[in-house]
Symmetry: C2
Subunit: 369 residues, 2 copies
């Protein structure tokens, strides 16, 4: 991977990630394809929408279908027929959010499979081996996601464990690396404590990661706390590597993070909310199941040119949701991803024209959270 | 509508239905879009698959979203963004198969809505008015579907009621007709009794319908009984109008019906079975959820060129079904419709080359029911 910083507008950044599998323009939003599918979408749909990279989840894929099946397909790209880059998380976050029984120490984490209750062991080495089998273009170190709220002592212990795992993950990644142009990112932890975050950044900067992610945010903290962590960290992070804020977020969250210099995002919101009938528009979220749309022949968003808006009324999509028709979830997903990817395009355009702050202000003024 | 009989190969027929909205090559299979959506498919998907006409259900659409909503969209075509022809049934069959409380006499049928229990009244006049509102290209008379098994007396009484309704439906259709090129089809009933079927055909032939359908089959009768009805009826039906066998069927059922001269088919099998993981191939049905496909990297059908077969393995689609991923239902639907529409293309090709019997024999030999 090669990262190219093209331009800055104050602290917001325009860049490119170069992979053999394709270029990625940053700031980028990565649709989430947990089980090797961005829910309801074919790879062709995603390409039409302009997605340049997707995220998939190591934790889910190691449970179903398992490493062996994906290995038989020479990796996740062929398994899911997606030939552009893929970023995979390491499973650390899901172990905390999805498993109910866990044993954790500096050497490994053991957790119960939510599918059949089997105990599964993950080490930094295993996490990297699986990501190698997946053929992931951007691989993430195994980390421990610090819970929220956490005392400073808890956050410190957790962070120190993540540091050990980051070192081991990097070593395992180097040992497994072949001639592919894959990348490995470290993950900054430290809870909501600025000094811990900076200490962790310092430590991770001493390892030759291709990029750094900010983990442990979007775990329930207020926006002000999150922004404090970001505003502490970002100015201290090197300019020449990409910065990835994990698991965020709503449109305004993304805009605020771009403003302080974040380059990469992923989130289930546009796809998950689509399946619940929450439609993102330039003026805010529209709940398509509401009775007020029963006979509304307007599209979701009159400013939108997506396939759904060009062809279907709110009334039709409400009818589909009302009848539990799968096409409803699909049309909503197409629209929400188009909206998110379009938002990123507008963000990049504004940065390139040195008017990001004006763009952000105008977007936020029009948008009802 | 204009019907053109292009060629015959023994009793099998090659033809064309001409509409302003497009041409339909017969024998044709019509995918079913009950609620104004062929489940999991966009109209673009259907066009790519080569569907020239779809079927939709008056009964379902009158309940949800209701006539008023579709009227606001100037009809079903605009509501669902499908600009090729649509055939709508009249609701008769669904009243029998889906409602639990019914009152029926020669003037009307009343039944309970499966959505909210409301009593709904349907008359031939209302059934035709709704189909007019839907903007249906081929409209079906209201009929009473004779249950199976039925005594000859029961079948006779039921058939006589359908005759009255057919007359009233035709009159209502004529009264409502504007300058569109829509068509109206009568429906032959009479249970499994050949003499009743012929009497009913004789009656319906005296009305100027654009085509005739054979109803009351595929209701649980053995193949031999069904074929007897078809073999009795078809030779007596006029050559110059299309013949439509309602609600059928599996691939071999279709082939056998084409052999005796049927032109049009509809069935939920390819789409409904797809969502249950039953995949139609030239050698029979493959149940993709089976464990044997866990690590099978072959496509559904190695002879198939559909999007699903060109891109995905059985293993991947099994994984999607295993994780309840919507994309699984969609990839299976794409394949099954491609298979059915491809089967019809092969049938037409064989008729045009005067080798339909050889085609049918070879297909059936390779196919495990």
């Amino acid at each position: 991977m090669r990262f190219e910083l093209l331009q800055q507008d104050d602290t917001s950044r325009l860049g490119k990630l170069h992979f053999l599998r394709g270029e990625i323009q940053t700031p980028v939003f990565m649709p989430v394809g947990t089980y090797g599918t961005v829910k309801t979408m074919t790879p062709d749909d995603l390409e039409s929408l302009g997605a340049e990279i997707i995220l998939s989840n190591t934790y889910h894929l190691m449970i179903r279908p398992g490493e062996e099946v994906i290995s038989s397909h020479q990796g996740l790209h062929q398994f899911m027929a997606w030939d552009r880059p893929i970023l995979t998380d390491s499973g650390g976050y899901q172990i905390w959010s999805l498993s109910t029984k866990r044993t954790i120490n500096d050497d490994f984490v053991e957790f119960d499979s939510p599918v059949n209750g089997d105990m599964i062991r993950l080490t930094p080495e295993i996490a990297m081996r699986i990501q190698k089998t997946l053929g992931s273009d951007i691989q993430m170190v195994l980390d421990e996601c610090t819970h929220y709220p956490a005392t400073k002592d808890e956050a410190y212990v957790s962070m120190k464990r993540s540091e050990k795992w980051a070192e081991k993950s990097f070593q395992a990644y180097e040992d497994l690396k072949d001639d592919s142009d894959s990348a490995i990112f470290g993950i900054i932890q430290g809870g909501m404590y600025s000094d811990l975050r900076l200490e962790n950044l310092d430590f991770l900067s001493s390892i030759d990661f291709d990029g750094l992610a900010i983990g442990g945010l979007s775990v329930g903290e207020p926006l002000a706390e999150r922004m404090e962590v970001l505003e502490t960290l970002l100015p201290q992070m090197t300019q020449d590597k990409p910065r990835y804020l994990m698991g965020l977020g709503k449109p305004i969250d993304i805009i605020k993070a771009v403003e302080v210099g974040v380059d990469m995002f992923d989130c289930v919101i546009p796809t998950r909310h689509a399946r619940n009938g929450q439609i993102y528009t330039h003026s805010g979220v529209l709940r398509i199941r509401n009775a007020q749309y029963t006979n509304d022949i307007k599209p979701f968003d009159e400013q939108c040119s997506c396939y759904s808006c060009k062809n279907f009324s709110r009334s039709y999509v409400r009818h589909l949701f009302n009848c539990n028709e799968i096409l409803g979830a699909r049309l909503a997903t197409i629209h929400n991803l188009y909206f998110y990817l379009g938002l990123m395009e507008n963000i990049r355009d504004a940065i390139s024209k040195h008017c990001f702050k004006e763009f952000a202000k105008s977007f936020i003024e029009n948008y009802q959270q």
